[in-house]
Symmetry: C2
Subunit: 284 residues, 2 copies
C-alpha cells in the first residue's frame, strides 16, 4: 500500500487506471473501524484500485472541541487499511485541501440538508461535507465511492450532490456494521468509558424496538417514535433528536404507509455524540 | 458531427476516449461567432475529440429581458460548429440541466466574483456561471476546456473554481477575436443597428488609447482610466463600469507598477450590454 499526501502524487498513481480499470474510493476521517474496513473490502471486490482518504475535515465540525477530540492514529489506520486491501492511502494535510486563497463552497438546499443533523449541527455541517466530498471526488475521480448507511443523511446528501453536479461517480451504500450487542461502529465509540459503552447499546435497541412495533402493524409515526423514546428515557439517554422522516425527502412522516422511512437518532452519552438509524418499511 | 441532448448519450459517445485520448470542451451559449470557432479550432488542434455545448443558462442572467433577447439559432450554430471541427454538439434542454429537485450551488467568494460583472450583474451571476460550468465539467469530464479572454473575469472565476474544487481539467484561454475595426466578437453584437455597431467600435478604441498611454509611461491608474473614459464620453457611450484591477486578484489598482492589470469596461449601446478588456503590463 502506498501512502500519498499531495494531489499530484495521487493522480500520478491513479493515471494507469483511467479508462482502463475502475477506481474505488473510500473517504474517511480516519480512526478506522470495521465499518470503514467493510467499505474498503467492498471496493476491493468491485474495483481495480482502491483509494482510501483519511482527512479530518475541519469545515464540517460545528464544535471545535469535537474536532480537537476526534481520534487520530495514522499508523494504526495504515495497518488496518492495508489489511482490508487498500492500494493507495491518501492522507493530505489541511493546507493541501484548503490552500491559501481557497474560497469555494458547494451547497445544497432544502430538507435533506436542513433536517436532523443539519438542524442540530448547523447548516454549515453539510456544506462542509458537500464541499470536501466534491473536492475529494475531483482529486480521485472515482468510478465508485463507498459510504456507510450509518451516516444515512450524509449518504442522501452526497447522492443529491452527485446528481445535481453531474459527477460521474456511482455512490455505493454499505449497511451499518454493528458490534455484537447492536451498537453501530463509530470512531467516536472509543471515547466512551466501558460503563458508557454498555449504556450506548440501548440506542440501537431503541431502534429495533421501533422496528418490531412497525412489523406488528403500528403505522402512526408518533407511536413508533414513542416506542423508541421510551427505551432511551428508561436508560436515561440524553436524546438530541429522534425523528421519523421520509427516507428520500427527509420531510417528517406522520403515518407510515407509503415508501420507506428513516428513524434517525442522535444522542449524547458521556459527552460523546452518537448517531444511528434504521430504515422502516410499511408492512405489506 | 453528432448532436446529443442528454447526459447519458453524451457520456456514451465520449466513453472510448476515457484514459485513451484527450477530450477538448468548448462551452458556449450558442449564437456562435468567430470567437467561439477559434476556441473550437484550438481544441481541434490539441485534443482527440472536440465537444461543444450550447446552453443558454438561465441562472446567470440577472435580467429576464436580456435572457429572452439572447440570440438563438441552433441550425446555423450546428453548421458553424461542424465547420470548425466539432465532433459532438451537446445541446441539452433546461430540464436536462436543471431537473426537478435540483438544489445545488457552487459559489466562490471575494473580489474575483464581487468586482466588475459581479457588482453590476449581481452576485448571482457568477454563482450561475460556476454552478453550470461545474455541472458541464461533470457531464463532459474534459481534459481541456477553452474560454475566450473577452470574458476575462469569467476566465479568472472558472480558473479559481477548478483549482478550489480540484477539477482535473486544464483551462485554456484564447485571445479575444476582433472585427477589423477592433470590436470584440460577441453574440450580442448582432443586436446592434449598423449605426450602433459603428459607434461600438469606440469601446475597443478606448482600451487601445489607454494601452498606448501606458506604453508611453503613464502609471497612475486614474490617469490611465481617464484616457479611456474620454474616448467613450466623446462618443456618448453609456459606461456601466470602466475599471483598472489587478489581473489576478481583481482588487483595484492605483499605480501600474507591479504585475499585469486588467482594464475592463462594460457599456450599453442601443440597449445592448457589451463588455471588453485589455491586459496592461507596466513598462519594463
Amino acid at each position: 500500500m502506498k501512502i500519498v499526501r499531495t494531489v499530484p502524487d495521487l493522480r500520478e498513481l491513479l493515471r494507469p487506471y483511467r479508462g482502463e480499470g475502475s477506481v474505488g474510493f473510500v473517504p474517511t476521517m480516519g480512526a478506522l473501524h470495521e465499518g470503514h474496513l467493510e467499505l474498503a473490502r467492498r471496493a476491493r471486490a468491485a474495483d481495480d484500485v482502491v483509494v482510501m482518504s483519511i482527512f479530518v475535515n475541519p469545515t464540517q465540525f460545528n464544535d471545535p472541541a469535537d474536532l480537537a477530540a476526534y481520534p487520530r492514529d495514522e499508523h494504526k489506520d495504515a495497518e488496518l487499511a492495508a489489511s482490508a486491501g487498500v492500494d493507495v492511502l491518501f492522507a493530505p494535510g489541511v493546507a493541501e485541501v484548503y490552500p491559501p486563497g481557497f474560497t469555494a463552497t458547494v451547497s445544497l438546499h432544502g430538507p435533506i440538508v436542513e433536517a436532523l443533523e443539519g438542524a442540530h449541527r448547523g447548516v454549515g455541517h453539510f456544506q462542509g461535507v458537500t464541499t470536501v466530498v466534491s473536492k475529494l471526488f475531483g482529486m480521485v475521480s472515482p468510478d465508485r465511492a463507498y459510504f456507510g448507511q450509518k451516516d444515512a443523511q450524509q449518504v442522501r446528501v452526497v447522492r443529491a450532490m452527485v446528481a445535481d453536479l453531474n459527477i460521474p461517480t456511482e455512490i455505493v451504500v454499505v449497511p451499518t456494521v454493528r458490534e455484537p450487542d447492536g451498537m453501530a461502529m463509530s470512531s467516536r465509540n472509543r471515547r466512551l468509558s466501558p460503563f458508557e459503552r454498555a449504556r450506548a447499546a440501548h440506542i440501537s435497541a431503541a431502534l429495533w424496538e421501533a422496528e418490531v412495533a412497525v412489523a406488528n402493524g403500528i403505522v402512526d409515526a408518533g407511536a413508533v417514535v414513542q416506542v423508541a423514546r421510551k427505551v432511551l428515557s428508561d436508560n436515561a439517554i440524553d436524546v438530541e433528536y429522534l425523528e421519523l422522516v421520509d427516507a428520500d425527502t427527509f420531510l417528517p412522516v406522520r403515518v407510515l404507509v407509503a415508501g420507506p422511512a428513516l428513524l434517525a437518532v442522535a444522542a449524547v452519552i458521556g459527552g460523546v455524540r452518537l448517531i444511528d438509524n434504521v430504515v422502516l418499511h410499511p408492512r405489506a
